[in-house]
């Protein structure tokens, strides 16, 4: 469907003609997010430059009965920000102002298009930072993080996005503007901030977000250890967590991933002869880090680490982390396409589930490599394939499903931080029964009775159709 010139003109009257993108080439730039298996070209894209413009756009689309999808930087990995030919896409990247930082109460008020890493940069002069750190933090926006309840390596100690958002001003699909939460974090009524975070853009648009900020740790030490089996590395992970030490991050890369990193411009000096590399980061006061490091090192040796290396200078730590955070990019060199999957299992089941993933890869003749948040049991199996080969693509999708089923069978879940979006929607019945799914549909309709905000995501449509209880419209 090409956009009606009437709608285009009405949107242009709000934001200016240059911020309404209708040309085919322009629209195609928004056809996918970070997940290559799903693509969809929006009817048009409109880029508001202010809070007031967002509200005006939503009101206009409500009047015209047009569906819409809000997008941040498009780094999502679940096809959550895709819009189809009948749907308007609203990228919020122009709403990128940090409105205030309160160093005493450790709060920041920001617009939704602020890039995650920029907030920490702005807070740094006050000795503060924003804790959730998705691997895409140099590009992803905090509005997108709010929609997905994004995580990151340091969420092991500091929690995910939901633990760091205290107040949100939102515009609902009917154009109503309301504020949820309060600067301290206590809510005015039920915890609607908690409900809104992770609602994948289906409850409304965040216009203004108040976040917590954390004091920059006085000391940070990163330990790099190598193991001759993934099993031994993951057993060490459980032992570290059970010891009472709470590392800031506990990240595991397998041999294939290490090889890809070390053969790329992101080479971090990881040992390429090991089956698994474990990064353990400790942070806190100098004394606590000094006290915890020997405890962790002893555990690493107990589980037969081949080597343990410590990095303390900002430069050496940055290098180690660059390898981890750019691992997906490095893997891009060795495969035409890759699917970064996301699932969570109880930490104690990690060794077994990793064996299962290897077996699934072998059976489907696919290279599946692992780089993940081991401390949280949050797996990121990376399935290497070629989008142009239909058979490879089919096998990649089959392997994805089998991995999800195995993780659910182990007591886990289908996504830990990437969201359901389009990609995981068919897996939702693996973990929720019809009653629970139907309740989610009803909750969505509380916020958006006409279901125009990010339509068709998260909950399978048939679950919504079967909803019969008497919620109030």
């Amino acid at each position: 469907m090409s956009p009606s010139s009437d709608l285009r003109d009405a949107l242009a009257a709000i934001v200016g003609a240059r911020w309404v993108k209708t040309a085919n080439a322009e629209r195609r730039t928004y056809e996918a997010d970070g997940l290559p298996t799903h693509a969809s070209v929006p009817m048009l894209a409109v880029l508001p430059g202010s809070r007031e413009e967002v509200i005006a756009i939503i009101k206009l689309l409500a009047e015209r009965k047009v569906s819409w999808v809000v997008r941040g930087a498009g780094t999502g990995l679940s096809g959550g920000a895709l819009a189809d030919h009948a749907t308007v896409l609203i990228p919020l990247t122009r709403l990128n102002r940090i409105l205030s930082i309160d160093p005493v109460s450790r709060r920041a008020v920001i617009q939704p298009g602020v890039v995650n890493a920029k907030l920490s940069e702005a807070a740094a002069p006050f000795g503060l930072y924003y804790a959730p750190d998705p691997s895409s933090q140099a590009a992803c926006t905090i509005g997108g993080n709010v929609a997905e309840n994004a995580g990151g390596p340091h969420c092991l100690k500091y929690g995910t996005t939901t633990n760091h958002i205290v107040e949100i001003e939102v515009v609902l699909a009917d154009g109503t503007v309301t504020r949820l939460g309060s600067p301290q974090g206590e809510s005015w009524g039920p915890d609607l901030v908690g409900l809104f975070v992770g609602s994948e853009g289906m409850f409304g648009v965040a216009l203004e977000i108040t976040t917590r900020l954390e004091p920059t740790p006085a000391a940070v030490r990163t330990l790099l250890s190598a193991f001759d089996s993934v099993r031994a590395a993951s057993e060490a992970v459980s032992a570290i967590v059970a010891s009472g030490v709470v590392p800031a991050a506990l990240e595991l890369l397998d041999r294939a991933c290490v090889a890809a990193v070390e053969n790329s411009i992101y080479a971090a000096g990881y040992p390429t002869d090991a089956e698994a590399v474990l990064l353990v980061e400790l942070d806190g006061t100098r004394a606590s880090v000094d006290a915890e490091a020997p405890v962790v090192e002893a555990i690493l040796h107990r589980f037969k680490a081949q080597s343990v290396r410590s990095a303390e200078t900002p430069e050496s730590r940055a290098k180690l982390w660059q390898g981890r955070k750019k691992a997906f990019g490095a893997l891009g060199r060795i495969t035409a396409d890759l699917v970064v999957q996301d699932a969570v299992v109880p930490r104690s089941t990690l060794p077994g589930i990793l064996d299962t993933i290897t077996e699934i890869g072998e059976r489907h003749r696919l290279l599946i490599t692992n780089v993940f948040h081991a401390g949280d049991g949050n797996l990121h199996p990376v399935i290497c394939y070629d989008q142009r080969d239909p058979d490879l693509r089919r096998r990649a999708i089959l392997a994805s499903r089998e991995i999800m089923e195995a993780c659910v069978a182990a007591g886990g879940t289908i996504t830990g931080e990437h969201g359901v979006g389009s990609d995981k929607i068919d897996y939702m019945p693996l973990i929720f029964d019809e009653t629970s799914l139907a309740t989610m549909c009803a909750i969505r309709k509380v916020f958006d009775p006409t279901e125009r905000a990010n339509p068709g995501k998260v909950v399978p449509v048939h679950s919504c159709r079967e909803w019969r209880a008497g919620w109030v419209a």
């Binding site: 005493v104 100098r286 949050n378 309740t439």
Partner: protein, 402 residues
């Protein structure tokens, strides 16, 4: 009516149905299915329901046709110490839970007010954290998933039992601090912590202002504490205010933080002998007086808030979250004074929640009172999803607002 309700429920649930001391039918289901049956029958007949835990926190005085108590939902289903996750039924007493977890070298890093017999379901439904919220967050930050039975007897599951999970909307958040308006919590998956190797309580006594500044000096220096809290004289039964700071971690880490804390705030003294007394005082103090309330105030506004509450409601017992904000008061107050106090806080953008009060007060004032613009409509619709016949007695809004 009571006898008819008793007979109708007893036919389905047998000896789970009794009469409470006032002659009201009381059902004590021992499973999620039995709870769903009870609520389904009640919904069919439009019986108004009073939800109870173990009867130690909220007065059991809401007008109703039937009481549903979670006291027989008292099983600790599993403690996965390697995963630091526990699954428990909602009627499990917090004291019992703490003991069981300690045997697994784990703890739930929440220190809610109330008796050890208080149920975990009560802690969730009222969202009452304690001073450890400074390090570990409030109740919402410890809950991974819930199973809830709605007012019409549906069983709804949300979240899961792993520490990271973004599958589906986070309905669990709605249950925490929902005061039972969104169903009856049947079981809960909790995030645990490994017990620290060392813990040490530091205390100082004196006037509010200097202790507040001493506490803030620790916060500004990012002292690694689990708790930085100011307790009013009524809490500890002393003449002065008390600043409590708890350090936890490795032995060496605690020793080093002790040295830093002592340099920053020389009034602080290690008081290991006071640990049991302070813990007990914190648990008991907010059960005294008819009302317990909390306010979402940021740290800089706390001293003025303490003055305001003292002049408007009386000194009562106060706990001030010097580190990350948050304020609790318990005492006695009349409805008009509570309404006026809430209004004065609202002008400063500080929300006030009634955590515990007799029915005449909580129904008049409301747990939350008047909502912000837009929030009331959403809340009403959300209630209708979870309780279509409106049989769950939960006065979120007051009758005498505005």
């Amino acid at each position: 009516m009571s006898n008819a309700i008793h007979r109708a429920l007893a036919a389905q649930l047998g000896d789970a149905v009794t009469l409470d001391p006032s002659g009201l039918p009381r059902v004590a289901p021992a499973s999620t299915d039995a709870l769903a049956t009870a609520l389904g029958v009640a919904n069919e007949h439009q019986w108004r329901i009073r939800i109870e835990g173990n009867g130690t926190w909220m007065p059991a005085d809401a007008p109703a046709d039937l009481t549903v108590t979670t006291r027989r939902l008292d099983r600790i289903t599993s403690i996965a110490s390697a995963d630091l996750v526990a699954t428990v039924q909602s009627g499990v007493a917090i004291g019992t839970l703490a003991q069981s977890l300690a045997a697994h070298k784990a703890w739930l890093a929440l220190d809610p007010p109330g008796a050890p017999e208080r149920s975990i379901g009560s802690v969730l439904a009222t969202a009452t954290p304690g001073p450890a919220r400074y390090r570990f967050g409030t109740v919402r930050d410890h809950v991974l998933g819930t199973t809830v039975v709605t007012g019409d007897g549906r069983v709804v599951r949300a979240g899961g039992s792993v520490v990271k999970n973004v599958a589906g909307y986070d309905l669990t958040k709605l249950q925490i601090g929902g005061f039972g308006a969104f169903g009856v919590i049947a079981d809960v998956n909790l995030r645990l912590r490994a017990l620290p190797a060392a813990r040490l309580l530091l205390t100082a006594t004196g006037a509010l202002d200097p202790l507040f500044h001493a506490g803030r000096a620790l916060v500004d220096a990012a002292i690694d504490a689990t708790t930085i809290e100011l307790l009013s004289p009524g809490v500890t039964n002393r003449a002065d205010w008390m600043l409590i700071v708890e350090l936890a971690g490795t032995e060496a880490g605690v020793d080093a933080e002790l040295a830093r804390a002592a340099a920053l705030a020389p009034v602080l003294r290690p008081s290991p002998e006071a640990q049991a007394g302070v813990t007990n005082a914190l648990a008991q103090a907010f059960l005294e007086g008819a009302i317990s309330l909390r306010a979402g105030a940021l740290p800089p506004s706390l001293p003025a808030l303490a003055d305001a509450v003292e002049s408007q409601l009386g000194p009562g017992r106060m706990s001030l979250g010097v580190g990350g904000g948050g304020f609790r008061w318990a005492g006695n107050a009349a409805v008009p004074d509570l309404l006026e106090f809430r209004r004065s806080l609202a002008e400063q953008e500080i929300p006030l929640t009634i955590e515990r009060a007799p029915w005449p007060i909580r129904s008049a004032v409301g747990h939350f009172g008047a909502f912000r613009e837009g929030v009331g409509t959403l809340t009403t619709r959300l209630r209708a999803v979870f309780d279509p016949s409106n049989i769950l007695t939960a006065p979120l809004e007051g009758q005498r607002d505005g």
